[in-house]
Every structure is written in structure tokens, then in C-alpha cells.
């Protein structure tokens, strides 16, 4: 543990990575480490958020992120309510703001939101009193995913600074890519994006990344290969001609992986499309793939974020972890 004293965390909301300083990111990751240890014990429950209410407001279907946030809140002792779009007033034409105002009247301390529109979490944060955590908004940001990816990498390789990370696939539509580019860049890693031009947003190089259109140059000597999900509706001629052509040039298989460092880690935010962006053999390689580890880190990182936001400070990890 590097942090030894309480770090102020003067943020009410976690909407993206851009507002976090490298020190704050480090402190969050240190705290997350503590929670990883806690989560591996039989008795997992703390009282850090006892008496607090957390609402998970998911306008997009999600299994792992919602479960992860739910567990995170519960393990800190919060009362957690899940609201998904099915069966909610949104289907009856209520707007995001109306829903937010209604829920806000119930005095939640934290609201976790996922929405298919970029900026939805920003909009929500302007209207509620409690903390808002962005669990993914459109193509904009997914900050807890970037934090959990960073934690996974740091626990495996010991540091983030100086690493070469290749993010491959549908960068254009990916909030995971945007948040990772920001976070890894802030922490001193070299980030490459690897994709056909149709799947890259305009001026992506201005985000401080190296742009590659082929996997061989993109993966060369990479420490980390991060694959992104390509949604099936985008593969039928709109952005790439076909699944088989995409897999041929951009799917991660043994041959392409051979260009990365011999011990390079393979990551994926899930859910995976096996045989589209990643070969099953590679995805399941227990020496290289940290995909399941990412899921484990997710709970710890979300605990750290909820804790830090609600208390507006990051306590010394040792103190937090003592039950």
C-alpha cells in the first residue's frame, strides 16, 4: 500500500475520468486493493455505508455491471435498490429528468446510472442531491471500467507508468476505450488504438494515442492487449463488411498475439463475442487472459468509488479494512 494518510476526494460525482488527478486515481486504486482482500474473506460486509441508500438506474440492459455495483453497495452496508427500464415509467414516456427528480425525492445518497445516450449521467448529476456514478453513458465514458482495468493491470505488472497498451476494435462507439485512453494516459502509459478507420472516431490522435490500422504494428511489443466488443449490428456491412473479414484482420488469435510481448496480458470488458473479436483459445488462456480477474476487480473498484464519493475523502486503507 502506497497511501498512508487520508486523501481528500473533493468530487460529488464520478462522471468520467477527466476530473480525476493521477494522485486521486492512485488513491482509489490503493483503496480498491484493500477491498479486493476484503472480498476474498468469508465475511465480506463493512459498515462504511450503513444507513445509506444507493439506487442503480439502468436504462440499458447489463448483468455484470449492475450486479457488480449492487454487490459493492451491499458489501459496504448500503441499502441498494435496482431499477431497470423494463417495468419502469420510462417506458410510459417519462423523461430521464422526470425519473431522476422522482427518485431524488426519495433521498438516495448515490445513484448509479447507465444510459444509451452520451451525457445522460452529466444531465442526471445536475438534478439530484446525492452522488451520481456513471456506469456507462452512450459512447462517452465508463470510468469504473477504466479504474478496474487499471487495477487489474497494476496488480499483475506492479505499475502503469511506461506500459504499452493496445486497445483494439470498435473505438468509435466505445465508452470503455475513451475512459481507458484518459486514465492510462494520465498514469503515464503509452496507449495505442488499433482498428479499421471506420471504427475510429475523428481526431482520435488528439486524445494522445498512437493510431494503428493493423494488428501487427499495433500489438508490437505491447504489454497489454485490450479487446473491445463489436456489436453484431455493426458488422453487417455498415462499418465492416463481415464477421469473417473482421476476425481475419482484427480478431485476436495466437498469430496476432505473437507480436505482443511474450507475457502480454489479454483483457476484455465483456461480454465477449468469441470468434468475432477474440479467439476462444486466447480468451481462455489462464496464463495470459485476465478477463475474469477484471470482473473480480470490478466489485472492489466500485466499493472504493462509492466509499470515496459518499465520504468525499479516501481513508487510509488499513483503517478501512479493519472490520
Amino acid at each position: 500500500m502506497t497511501s498512508s494518510a487520508a486523501t481528500p476526494f473533493p468530487h460529488r460525482h464520478l462522471l468520467g475520468i477527466e476530473h480525476l488527478s493521477p494522485d486521486e486515481i492512485t488513491a482509489l486504486l490503493d483503496l480498491s486493493d484493500t477491498y479486493v482482500d476484503l472480498n476474498r474473506r468469508p465475511e465480506k460486509k463493512l459498515a462504511r455505508l450503513r444507513g445509506r441508500t444507493q439506487i442503480n438506474l439502468f436504462f440499458e440492459t447489463s448483468t455484470r455491471t449492475k450486479t457488480s455495483f449492487e454487490l459493492a453497495g451491499k458489501r459496504l452496508g448500503a441499502d441498494v435498490i435496482n431499477m431497470s427500464v423494463e417495468g419502469s415509467a420510462i417506458k410510459k414516456g417519462e423523461t430521464l429528468i422526470d425519473t431522476a427528480m422522482t427518485l431524488n425525492a426519495m433521498q438516495p445518497d448515490a445513484m448509479v446510472i447507465r444510459h444509451s445516450d452520451s451525457g445522460a449521467a452529466d444531465l442526471l448529476s445536475q438534478k439530484v442531491n446525492g452522488s451520481v456514478i456513471n456506469a456507462g453513458d452512450g459512447s462517452h465514458a465508463h470510468p469504473t471500467q477504466a479504474l478496474l482495468d487499471a487495477l487489474t493491470i497494476r496488480r499483475r505488472l506492479g505499475h502503469l507508468h511506461g506500459l504499452t497498451v493496445a486497445i483494439c476494435g470498435d473505438i468509435l462507439h466505445s465508452r470503455v476505450a475513451r475512459s481507458n485512453i484518459q486514465l492510462l494516459g494520465k498514469m503515464g502509459a503509452l496507449v495505442r488504438v488499433v482498428a479499421p478507420p471506420t471504427l475510429l472516431p475523428v481526431a482520435v490522435e488528439r486524445l494522445g494515442v498512437e493510431v494503428h490500422h493493423d494488428m501487427v504494428s499495433g500489438l508490437r511489443n505491447a504489454d497489454i492487449v485490450m479487446m473491445l466488443r463489436l456489436q453484431s449490428e455493426r458488422m453487417k456491412g455498415a462499418f465492416v463488411p463481415s464477421i469473417r473479414e473482421y476476425f481475419r484482420y482484427y480478431g485476436l488469435d495466437r498469430d496476432k498475439l505473437a507480436h505482443a510481448k511474450p507475457d502480454a496480458l489479454i483483457m476484455h470488458p465483456g461480454p465477449m463475442n468469441r470468434g468475432v473479436e477474440i479467439d476462444t483459445e486466447v480468451a481462455d488462456d489462464i496464463n495470459r487472459s485476465v478477463i475474469r480477474e477484471q470482473v473480480e476487480m470490478g466489485v472492489a473498484v466500485r466499493m472504493a468509488c462509492l466509499d470515496a464519493l459518499v465520504h468525499q475523502t479516501i481513508e487510509r486503507p488499513a483503517k478501512v479494512a479493519t472490520p
Binding site: 423523461t95 430521464l96 429528468i97 444510459h115 445516450d117 452520451s118 451525457g119 445522460a120 452529466d122 444531465l123 453513458d137 452512450g138 459512447s139 462517452h140 465514458a141 465508452r175 475513451r178 472516431p201 475523428v202 481526431a203 482520435v204 488528439r206 486524445l207
Partner: protein, 429 residues
């Protein structure tokens, strides 16, 4: 009983004649009777006197594109509120955009709007009619009959006619009546799911981008068609440096083409979107700083003929949404000229040239007698002080809608009095 009004002690600004001089204006009933160094030996007894106290007196402004809500969108704006907003902004003639409900593609509707305007409007309202039925981009409207019924120009609002043959025939046919075709220029397929300028900002915000080329490709096509047909073509709202160049080249070639801009395209850039500010969501989108500078240059050198408010009132519900879902558009009747004055204060466009874009520019394109201080012209006037420090206050707008990106912007300039057909329709208290 004739009404004579003497406007004295004015700084007369008339772009049509290039006048910038001390003097006065005499109006008799609805018409300007005399302009110049008047009332040197006093004002005749039968005149009512309006002492301009050294302020500027110019022709009333002409707005070539504003949505007035009627018929069908009265919850967003009405002719009464929209024309009061116009009057407060120094505007005396408004071309009402035809994207109403129902869409303005029938003679009866044009006549209806003209009647409504007579009843409840405080400034002149001239209906625009659509180029194609239902703005569907397929079949031409009865342009001759619509023009006879009072349609001032033809436009499909914020929709582009993608079928080149349809636009070709429309331009060709309209030339029979010397009617003006005003066109929104965007290739819809290149707009796609874009909602703001395609740029680093869009990438950072995770918003779909609209490339500048989406506009310029359509515009370049249109200019070729204008050349082919000889029709009178007006690019309604351009936003990019490449578009300014395209129009400039077309004019150099001698084509009968003109173009307009909205105030936000010379005063704001894409950064205004900030963190998903939906009041900055307009069509075409706010562009890069380079584009904005090119628009200013186009206004200065006369490539751009017209500044139109592109007033698009929206209720809060249509704007309080995630950016991609929010409605396009900003209100502009009350701010159009005040924002334009910034170009004068920055020394980028001389005051007389700037006024031309609001007066004689649109008047000549639309063959209107107003927009000039001349004997026999309609007595449509605006008196303003270009220097008064102020702040734009959306809450005080006459318009029903408050969706402006300029709220609380510090400005210099104040409209003091607006006169339509010899009668004051707006006066600072």
C-alpha cells in the same frame, strides 16, 4: 387624418444608399416621406416629434427565416409572441418558416397564415412556402399560385432535397416566376447519427459527428444545379469555411446565388456545447473556430448576403434531454441584431455593412420595397444605441421560448424603438 411623424436628431444609417449622417426622417402614415438634413429650421406644427437624441436610425430589419409556431406549434410560439419578440429585436419583417403543422404547402395555408398575421402580428409577416409537398423532397408545390397567394420564398426548412433531379426541376420551374429557392444544405446520410460538429470535441463527448463536408458537398451540388438551371438559389444557412469559399467562387462566376448565416455561426464555435449544453444544439451544428472566422470574413467581404435569426422556439421538455435526443434550434429574434453588433464592436464588419446583411441584403433578394431609408419606402424603422452595455436575459424575452445559447452574455447595444408602417410597435420603457 394623416399622421406625420418627425424623427429628429438621428444618426441616419442606410446601407442601401451608403448613408451614415446626422439628420432626420419624416413619415406620413405608412410611408417614408423624406430623409436627410431635415427640420433644420424646426419641425412643422402638424408633426408628432420623436427625438432620437443622437441615436442610430436605420431601416427596420428583415429576418429571412424564423419559426412563428402557427399553425400547429402554438405551445412553442405564436404569431403574437413571435412578432413581439421580433419587434423587441428591431425586426420589422419576418419570413415565417414553413415547417408548420400542417406543413405550409397549400395556398389555403399561406392565406391562413397571412390572415393570422394581420390579426395578431405586430410586425410584417411574410409566409414562406415549401419547395416540395409535405417537405418530402419529391413533388413540387404549386409555386406560381403560392407566390401569388403571398409566399415570399420557397424552402423545405431544415430538410435538404436529396434528389438532385427534384431540386433541378424546382429551380428551373421557379425561375419562371423569378421565385427564390432557399435550401438547407446537408447530406442526410453523412449527418447520420451525428448531432454536433465532427471533431475532437465530439470524440471526447462520445457524440456522433456531422462532418463539415456534409454541408459543403450538398452546397457544391446545389451550385452546379443553379448554374445548370439559371434559377435563383439561396443557401439558407452555411456554417463552414469551405461553404464560404464555394459561394464566393460561384459569385465570381456570376451565378445568381446568395447565402445566409445564423448569428450563432459567427459568434460561437463548437466549444459552446461544453458538457452537453442542448441550447447549443443547432442545425447546421456549431463548427470549429476556423470555420467561425471564415464566416466572419464572408460577412465582411460580402460573400454572405444575409443574417437571419433562424429562430426555432422549443419548449423546455424538448431541450431537457440527453444531447442526442434533444431538439435542434435556438430562439434568435430578440438577439440576432445585438449579437451581430459584436462584429462592429470588434472592428470586423463596419456598421453600415453589418446593417446591410439585415436590411437591404434580404430586401433585394426578396424584391421587397422595405429595408431602406428612401422616399416612398414603407415607414419601417429601428432606433438603436449601438453602445449601451447590457446583458442578454432570456427570462425577459417576449418569445414564449427561452432556448438561447446567449443567455447572460454581456453585449453592447440596445434597440430603443421599432416602427412598422409608421407606428411604434416596440419602445424601451
Amino acid at each position: 387624418m394623416t399622421q406625420k411623424v418627425a424623427y429628429t436628431n438621428a444618426r441616419l444609417l442606410d446601407p442601401a444608399s451608403g448613408t451614415d449622417a446626422q439628420g432626420g426622417v419624416l413619415t406620413i402614415d405608412e410611408t417614408i416621406a423624406d430623409v436627410g438634413r431635415l427640420f433644420v429650421d424646426g419641425v412643422p406644427d402638424d408633426c408628432r416629434v420623436v427625438d432620437c437624441a443622437g441615436n442610430c436610425l436605420a431601416p427596420g430589419l428583415i429576418d429571412m427565416m424564423a419559426a412563428l409556431g402557427e399553425p400547429g406549434r402554438e405551445h412553442k410560439e405564436t404569431i403574437a409572441t413571435g412578432t413581439r419578440a421580433a419587434a423587441a429585436g428591431g425586426i420589422t419583417t419576418v419570413i415565417a418558416s414553413p415547417d408548420t403543422r400542417p406543413i405550409m404547402d397549400e395556398i389555403a395555408l399561406v392565406e391562413f397564415l397571412a390572415r393570422q398575421a394581420q390579426k395578431s402580428g405586430v410586425v410584417r409577416v411574410l409566409p414562406a412556402a415549401t419547395i416540395t409537398r409535405g417537405m418530402a423532397g419529391q413533388e413540387m408545390t404549386e409555386m406560381g399560385l403560392l407566390a401569388e397567394a403571398g409566399a415570399a420564398l420557397f424552402t423545405d426548412g431544415y430538410r435538404s432535397i436529396t434528389n438532385a433531379q427534384v431540386l433541378r426541376r424546382a429551380l428551373s420551374y421557379a425561375s419562371t416566376f423569378d421565385a427564390l429557392i432557399a435550401h438547407h444544405t446537408e447530406v442526410p446520410e453523412l449527418v447520420g447519427d451525428g448531432v454536433m460538429n465532427d471533431s475532437e470535441t465530439a470524440t471526447r463527448l462520445g457524440l456522433g459527428g456531422i462532418p463539415a463536408a456534409a454541408e459543403t458537398i450538398m452546397l457544391e451540388r446545389d451550385l452546379r444545379i443553379a448554374e445548370l438551371t439559371g434559377g435563383r438559389y439561396h443557401a439558407a444557412s452555411i456554417s463552414t469555411a469551405a461553404s464560404v469559399d464555394a459561394v464566393r467562387r460561384a459569385k465570381d462566376k456570376g451565378l445568381r446565388v446568395t447565402c445566409g448565416v445564423a448569428p450563432y455561426h459567427f459568434s460561437l464555435n463548437e466549444n459552446e456545447v461544453g458538457h452537453y449544453k442542448t441550447f447549443a444544439k443547432v442545425s447546421p451544428p456549431l463548427r470549429s473556430e476556423t470555420d467561425r472566422e471564415a464566416i466572419v470574413a464572408g460577412l465582411a467581404d460580402g460573400t454572405i448576403d444575409v443574417i437571419a435569426s433562424h429562430h426555432r422556439p422549443e419548449d423546455p421538455e424538448a431541450k431537457r434531454l440527453p444531447f442526442a435526443q434533444a431538439a435542434y434550434g435556438a430562439v434568435g429574434l430578440e438577439t440576432s441584431f445585438l449579437i451581430g453588433l459584436e462584429l462592429h464592436h470588434k472592428g470586423q464588419v463596419p456598421l453600415l455593412d453589418l446593417l446591410a446583411r439585415y436590411t437591404v441584403g434580404p430586401a433585394d433578394i426578396l424584391s421587397l420595397p422595405q429595408g431602406r431609408l428612401a422616399r416612398g419606402a414603407p415607414a419601417d424603422l429601428v432606433i438603436f444605441n449601438p453602445d449601451t452595455p447590457a446583458r442578454i436575459d432570456a427570462a425577459a424575452f417576449q418569445s414564449k421560448a427561452k432556448n438561447t445559447p446567449f443567455d447572460q452574455r454581456p453585449i453592447q447595444g440596445e434597440v430603443l424603438r421599432t416602427v412598422v408602417a409608421g407606428a411604434a410597435v416596440f419602445e424601451v420603457a
